[in-house]
Symmetry: C2
Subunit: 339 residues, 2 copies
């Protein structure tokens, strides 16, 4: 525990002690780290005798997280539907900018409202009165564990399962490099408090909709291999979608990049979906991030292209056949050795 951490943990606790009515929120399309950090913070603040209001924000409460204890303490309200002047403190969790509070209306804080940002996203714009942004932690849930520990809070079953799910989700089930030894040590402590966490993990990972499987089936039935199968595209035409009455929105459900990447030997893969006539959404993945940067490919082709080295996306405004040719052209230009 370093001095900087001790100081900020103390400052946050002081602000909480000085406040009576505290606001918490979930970010748009809330994931388990958003929900988990809000529900665990709510439990801790309530234990401290505070009046806590949690709002869901822009989205619906996710169906697959309704088995979490006390989830009904999150009110189905947006930031524009509450009066922020009624609160002394707003603890903003897992949100890197104001747009993560709401995108429906401009978010303005009244002068009387103190704001504390607690987040793990490197890109956080530090928009609070106090900002604790720790990108070395896997998740906001992991940061909260460390804070609760420093504050001497007893972590009960309800708090443990919320934090554990938040960490599980943001580390891809302890698969990503952000699952550090410290993360796993925290997970082992949380599992000692909530040993029967497995059912929640099942619910987390098994909440697909039938349309997602239909899209996956369609995508896998249209596989094209290039360059001795080192480059593989799955291709869905707009006609395919229309003949099955799959809407543009639903066509986004079948994110199959990771399924394509799971084949050993398929080095660089992409899913191309002609969601509207002559508009092709492209999702790129590679198994070998050290040699190939798919974000470079995504940026150099199409619109709003970008992402990470191993996973990126873009939109190409061309008929499907031309989009395929363009993409193959860019790939062989950047990485002629694949050809």
């Amino acid at each position: 525990m370093n001095t900087e951490f001790t100081n900020i943990a103390g400052n946050i606790l002081d602000s909480i002690k000085q406040s009576k009515k505290i606001l918490l929120h979930c970010h748009p399309f809330p994931d388990p780290d958003s929900i988990g950090s809000v529900l665990s913070m709510e439990a801790v603040l309530t234990k401290m005798g505070k009046e806590v209001t949690c709002i869901i924000g822009d989205s619906q409460y996710p169906e697959y997280l309704t088995s979490l204890p006390n989830h009904d303490r999150i009110q189905l309200k947006n930031y524009s539907e509450i009066d922020p002047k009624e609160f002394n403190l707003f603890i903003i969790l897992d949100s890197s900018s104001l747009t993560q509070i709401s995108q429906k209306k401009e978010v303005i804080f009244p002068d009387t409202l103190k704001t504390i940002v607690i987040d793990h996203h490197k890109t956080n714009s530090q928009f609070g009165n106090i900002n604790f942004v720790d990108s070395g932690s896997s998740s906001t849930s992991e940061i909260l564990f460390k804070l609760f520990d420093a504050w001497g809070i007893e972590i009960d079953r309800n708090i443990a399962i919320c934090l554990l799910l938040g960490i599980f989700a943001d580390t891809g089930g302890f698969r990503y490099p952000n699952a550090t030894p410290e993360t796993l040590h925290i997970v082992s402590e949380l599992s000692a408090i909530y040993p029967d966490y497995h059912k929640f993990v099942f619910d987390l990972e098994n909440n697909k909709k039938p349309i997602e499987l239909e899209m996956l089936g369609l995508a896998l039935s249209n596989i094209h291999e290039y360059y001795s199968s080192q480059v593989v595209f799955s291709v869905i035409s707009n006609e395919d979608l229309r003949s099955r009455n799959i809407s543009k929105e639903d066509s986004m459900e079948g994110l199959i990049g990771n399924t394509l990447r799971s084949v050993s030997g398929w080095t660089l893969v992409a899913s191309l979906v002609e969601a509207e006539p002559d508009i092709v959404t492209v999702s790129l993945r590679t198994r070998d991030e050290k040699r190939y940067d798919v974000s470079k490919i995504a940026k150099s082709i199409g619109e709003n292209g970008g992402g990470h080295t191993g996973a990126a996306g873009t939109t190409i405004h061309k008929p499907l056949g031309e989009a395929i040719t363009s993409l193959l052209g860019v790939i062989s230009e950047f990485y002629p050795e694949l050809k």
Copy 2:
């Protein structure tokens, strides 16, 4: 650490100390727990100055585990290709019966060979001179961690990654209830020794063959929903397979039970593959093990039916259409509430 454990750990160590030449083996179709426990035990015994021989047994060394350190210390030999009389001690890991040593030829131990069985399978037939069967441990790798710890062995990076992968695989990535708080505590200790374990986990989970994705695509393109979508079958006919030149063996590659079960709302799912004309292999899954026992369904229909409450299989010797009708009949007989 209880007395029973201390005693058996001591007995095993004594046997090792009294032996010079020690044999280790992998079970047929070796998984990461088989390979991981053999490679870690090999490293520990070699550190102790023993002459160790590891044999792969019935199968090939799995391609996706070739990045494991010192994997080439496992010789590509079967039990029938070595002379067991040359060894003082055979430490039999992760194997519940003699058939897990070899199925190619009868396995006979010479009188001069001492045998120690170390395993976590409840069904173990305790066929060694010393048997340490601990079904409370997630994996043989977890048992070995506890033994090495009791023996005061320093766990180095090579040993740590082997044990970690064995535990990861046998707990389904810490998803199954056998991942206890003690398991996770061990994992956190191992990750502190090998923090960059993530690449191995990726290799472990992403070693699919193209034919598996083709089978998955075919299966998902032939979904039939029954009983208000509470019962869902994916159905592949023999004609489907023949028209794509998919062999009987390859038709088994696309294990899609878990993919079907991932849809929330699809309570009881099955994949039916007519691998040969009029021979239908059936794989059953349920999301709700408390209410539905798919092994009961599998046992009451077809040949060699059985399995677990949540996952079971059988073979129905009927044309595909009749097999579907029979299966639906049995399901609605056992569980009329689904209808």
